[in-house]
Amino acid sequence: MSTTALELRDVVKSFGPLTAVDGLSLAIPRGIVLGLLGPNGAGKSTTMRMLTGQAIADSGEINVLGLDIPAESKTARGRMGVVPQQDNLDTELTVVQNLAMFAVLYRVGRRRRRDAVDRALALAQLTDRADAKVTELSGGMKRRLLIARGLVHDPELILLDEPTVGLDPQVRQDVWTLIDALRSEGKTILMSTHYIEEAERLADDVAVMSHGKVVAQGAPLALLSEHVGTEATEFYGPPDRLADVESRAQAAGLVTRRTGPSVSVLGSESAPTAVLAGLGDGVGRAANLEDVFVLLTGERLE
């Protein structure tokens, strides 16, 4: 079996004058969680739809689980689970009915359907709500059901499109726990997100996406090490002071970025002590993927 679960090469997709995906190349090894990190409009959802054949690339090549997309997308869809960004559950039906319907749609054998549904219920911790109507579920339960629905056929590859968007922090933690459990099972997961923390916590690899293309890909620590180091020092103050810190740090060859009401000096662990001291009082913090993202794209995530 190949070590690559999916691969996109020079994929382009336009909608009229808008180029949503612009020469995207990406390869995902089996058994990892890859976080597709980018702001809204970066082309993440379009990429997800192209992987399922629900959007057709204008050019480029897509291969999922050894199958050419879109020519063999139906076969590929039978082996992958898709969790959309928007809730599209059948709201008037029960939890178990939603899962049972999709067990049939995903061609789970008649004898295995009951077990498949039970397994999905257990995975999503919804066994005790199996007979509840979807309208009776909380937002977090609905999202867990949405994930369970995409897993009812025990897919090899899971596509999660912004799995926690719009959820409150506690519910987000619950969904993260569920995704982490899938990772522990060795599933290959492609997860689009614009939440830094989500990518840092769950992804083995992160692909930074901007304006329809991947600008960097690697393990979170490797990306930090390569682009921004391990530490940053933040300086606060009025605009004049921030501008002064920025210009002096850059004059000393340091990389900076604006972070709201402050300036961050990146890679401060390797900056000369005298230079840092000369910038005044600053607050040290660990470098994060947002630093990488902003540095590489010049954009903000939210």
Binding site: M1, S2, T3, T4, L6, E7, R9, K13, F15, A27, T46, R49, T52, G53, Q54, A55, I56, E61, N63, L65, G66, L67, D68, E72, K74, T75, R77, G78, V82, P84, Q86, N88, L89, D90, T91, E92, L93, Q97, A100, M101, F102, V104, L105, Y106, R107, R149, G150
Partner: protein
């Protein structure tokens, strides 16, 4: 393609039974939830027409088209029941599921193609139309309509007509800009078809131009077939009526497939 990516090269067919089973199972699950309201609306309205015209107008008109007026209307109302139970679900259900509920996106994330989805959805609607379309005949039995062997074909006639109108509705759902636009279709297309079908009065009594127009109305051919099935077959003419319904279903199926492919696949 990449050389390091390998896997099974299982080819799928354009239409596969498991995909139909999946879509129909989903519809059946939903139907079990909504059957009462769906059945009520699909049956009551044509039955009201039957009672109003058959018993109301029937007091003034004894015979139409060579049969008792209530039987004339009873057999004609099959087309009305089919229209209500196929064109409207085709329009509204398809639009709501595609645009508001986005359930078609969920189904198409499974191993189901747009062609399978559209074909299965239309045939499910037609199946219901085939059942609901027979209700006016059963009601008319209570007003003196004599059962005949030919009537056993009425569910099939209703199914075939329903197939065409289900796909017509699905096509309309894909070409309108908003759900409000269905009003125009209902008023400007479906109502004239409904009135020009020969349900309540013989088309032969209308001006020549209206009789010509009726030939292009699938409901007219449905009504003719149902009446002939109920009273007396005319093989050549009925083959013609049947052919029109088949062609209508094929054309609207093609239109629905083409338009919904464009809407569901970016």
């Amino acid at each position: 393609m990449s050389t390091d990516v390998t896997g099974p090269a299982t080819r799928t067919h354009r239409y596969e039974w498991p995909a139909f089973e999946g879509v129909w199972n989903r519809e059946f699950t939903l139907f079990k939830r909504y059957w009462a309201s769906t059945t009520f609306s699909s049956i009551v309205q044509p039955t009201i027409y039957l009672l109003a015209f058959g018993l109301g107008v029937g007091t003034m008109v004894d015979v139409a088209g060579g049969t008792a007026y209530v039987e004339f209307v009873g057999t004609g109302t099959v087309a009305t029941a089919v229209l209500f139970s196929s064109a409207f679900p085709g329009m509204f259900n398809t639009y709501v599921r595609r645009v508001f509920q986005r359930t078609y996106d969920a189904v198409l994330a499974a191993p189901v193609s747009v062609d399978e989805l559209v074909t299965a959805e239309g045939s499910w609607i037609a199946l219901k139309a085939g059942v609901y379309g027979t209700v006016p005949i059963i009601v008319t039995f209570f007003f003196g309509l004599a059962p005949s062997w030919g009537m056993l074909t009425i569910p099939f006639i209703a199914f075939l007509t329903g197939l065409g109108f289900a796909y017509f509705g699905m096509w309309v759902s894909a070409v309108v800009k908003t759900i409000d636009s269905f009003t125009y279709v209902t008023s400007a297309v479906l109502t004239p078809l409904f009135l020009l079908a020969g349900t309540f009065f013989p088309i032969a009594n209308l001006p020549q131009w209206a009789q010509v127009l009726a030939q292009f109305n699938p409901l007219y051919h449905c009504v003719k077939l149902v009446r002939d099935a109920s009273f007396h077959w005319f093989p050549v003419e009925d083959l013609y009526h049947l052919s029109v319904l088949v062609v209508f279903a094929l054309i609207t199926w093609g239109l629905a497939l083409g338009s919904l492919r464009g809407k569901l696949i970016d």
